[in-house]
């Protein structure tokens, strides 16, 4: 095993990776941009080096600078986390060229699976099920229009190099196609430097279910069961659970075997995720493979009891997987909420800024993988993910009850978060019944926040505000005093201020 590792990421995933590194006795190296000098990952690491200005193109995406740091401090390996350079083949190749282990799949597997159309080709060639659509990039609008007519509306436009919901557009009717295509191309160009898009049949209320796979450098590949990721907003996952309420043991085995075959096709090594759409009849279709750790990996860890980052590091060091497929057993149920800095009451606009108060949940069955702290200023340049809040319960009901309790304990002040939105979502009857689909989030939002008023709670709020106003105002006077006034004069004026409302009473 290597001794020192650089984590080429920031925020909660950098911390999560470093935690396992510490447990394994590995020295950790952080890199940071100008606005991240006080970031938690810099505070947590054994070493930390600056790599440039705030925009990620000038720091966290700078392969040259990151490799330069790694060489200077003699890091033997690099963990890319997710996002940033995690799915960048050029980075994987540059690491190899520099003699540094890249904790992830070989560039060749990344290349094949990184292009959704190439991955589709491979799956179709192997006789595996895929969503109806075209398996090539579409360059002209004319071609797009023709294919959409062939497949039949609704259709989904997708960025070929995409992920994370960027460059995705759902099109219900021919009239919407052109503007959707323009937006998708532009977003894809911005996000990935590649404007290519392709087209797929849009399934009605499909479930989004993915299989975690793990493979070593010696050809041993296993799967670790599924995660249900159907709860999405703007094609971004917001809440995930494991196991899926609709996957039983036979379906799990079939999906797992398919996922392992796809990974084998790609010559896959390390942790990866094979995503499927599952229709109302529980038919499943290969969608894409994510060649990195997923945001939602903690729920698999909670249910199968395996530290995925630990496995990643051991695989990267060349160790053989100590696990056989039969060693993987699922216990209980886990749910994850992605706590974002965004305002659910204002169209989920991002809400960066200073966290003035942070109270995090804990106790039985609660895991908070956070990347922030009280007093931290969440920068506007990066992803708004503050924390991955995950819970484990003996069954789905216990996990739901526990997540509700954890959400009630969570308080973030100073910036807006989607915590209130999760509280509402967890109470939705469709969610409680396990009827999940990618439209549920929008339906829950449309149901409105309701006039859930409580007079006593409002009285408590008003009393607190009045107490606070009363208690904080004298301090303002003291500040004035520091600017050159006598303390005694101030005291006299305060007495006046205090007394006038009494006169007002009459």
């Amino acid at each position: 095993m290597f001794r020192k590792i650089l984590v080429a990421n920031r925020g909660e995933i950098a911390l999560r990776v470093m935690r396992t590194c510490r447990e394994m006795g590995l020295a950790t190296v952080a890199v940071y941009s100008d606005v991240d000098r006080k970031a938690p990952h810099v505070r947590y690491a054994d070493e930390a080096y600056p790599i440039g200005r705030a925009p990620s193109t000038e720091s966290y995406l700078r392969i040259d600078r990151i490799l330069d740091v790694a060489k200077r401090c003699h890091a033997e390996a690099i963990h890319p986390g997710y996002g940033f350079l995690s799915e960048n083949q050029e980075f994987a190749r540059a690491c190899a060229a520099a003699g540094i282990l890249f904790v992830g799949p070989p560039a060749s597997a990344m290349e094949l699976m990184g292009s959704k159309t190439a991955a589709r080709h491979a799956a179709i060639a192997a006789g595996l099920p895929v969503v109806p659509g075209v398996d090539r990039n579409l360059e002209s609008f004319e071609e797009i229009r023709r294919v959409a007519e062939e497949i039949g509306y609704p259709v989904m436009l997708k960025a070929a190099a995409g992920g994370g919901g960027k460059g995705l557009r759902l099109v219900h009717a021919p009239g919407e196609l052109e503007s959707a295509w323009r937006n998708a191309c532009s977003e894809a160009e911005n996000a990935f430097g590649d404007a290519s898009v392709y087209l797929e049949k849009y399934l009605d209320r499909p479930r989004h279910i993915e299989i975690q796979v793990l493979g070593d450098q010696h050809g041993h590949l296993i799967h670790l069961g599924e995660r249900e990721c159907s709860l999405q907003r703007r094609h971004q996952k917001v809440m995930e659970e494991c196991p899926s309420p609709v996957v039983d043991e036979p379906l799990r085995r079939r999906m797992g075997e398919t996922a392992v075959r796809i990974a084998q096709l790609a010559g896959y090594v390390n942790a990866g995720t094979v995503e499927f759409l599952v229709d109302q009849d529980r038919n499943f279709y290969f969608l894409e493979m994510n060649t990195r750790l997923q945001v939602e990996h903690p729920i698999t860890e909670l249910v199968v009891g395996i530290d995925l980052v630990r496995e990643q590091l051991k695989i990267a060091a060349g160790e053989r997987l100590a696990l056989a497929q039969d060693d993987v057993r699922m216990h209980g149920a886990a749910i994850e909420c992605r706590v974002y800095a965004e305002d659910p009451e204002n169209n989920f606009f991002p809400s960066p800024g200073l966290i003035t108060r942070l109270k995090t949940p804990s106790g039985p069955g609660v895991r908070d993988d956070s990347g922030v702290y009280e007093g931290w200023t969440v920068p506007l340049e990066y992803d708004p993910l503050l924390s991955k809040l995950a819970v484990w319960g003996r069954d789905r009901d216990e996990a739901i009850a526990r997540m509700r309790r954890a959400l009630a304990e969570y308080d973030v002040e100073g910036i807006k978060t989607n915590l209130a939105f999760f509280r509402r979502l967890l109470g939705h009857p469709d969610f409680v019944a396990g009827r999940l689909d990618t439209g549920l989030v929008d339906r829950a939002l449309a149901d409105g926040s309701g006039a859930d008023r409580s007079r006593e709670t409002e009285i408590a709020a008003m009393l607190a505000a009045a107490l606070h106003a009363t208690r904080t105002e004298p301090k303002a006077s003291v500040q004035r005093a520091a600017m050159g006034e006598s303390r005694w004069k101030i005291a006299g004026r305060e007495a006046l201020l205090d007394s006038w409302p009494r006169r007002e009473r009459n």
Partner: protein, 182 residues
Amino acid sequence: MKFDIKLRAGTETTEHRLELPTGTANHASGGQLQFSLDGDATMRAADWAEVAPGVYSILLDGRSYEACVTVSPEATAAREFSVTVGTRQYSIELQDPRERRHGGITGAHQGPQEILAPMPGKIVKVLVEENQQVAAGAGLVVIEAMKMQNELRAPRPGRVEKVYVEAGVGVETGAKLVRLAS
């Protein structure tokens, strides 16, 4: 002390008058207090304690509430607070009755409307020109923050009277973007 209060819960706003005996809470970090709400002749008792700066534990007839008071980032009035009680959030504006007499809380502003940046970010695109007529819901400006592009839409139909920004510039929360004339 008397407070005229505007309390906003979600989209609903109610007005209240709260009376506390003078001197309540001036020095201690907790204790008993008496209050009267909305002119009620009988005073009610509450037990309060400041458990952290701006965080108040309040017992009302034994029921335990914890209220976290912060100054609203978008506060315009001097005493406008954002108050979280458990999982509920309120916006609370305090005024003393005397101030109110001399001006007080004004009604919703009619006429031209300024469209403000809801968060700090970078202007990616301006979708309208000055003097252009727009429908309610029409896109005005696209802002990028935290790797997401967000389109700001017109809250009502109107004429674009002024465009304050151009693509590429950075803006802070509350920066003026566009003025809509009715």
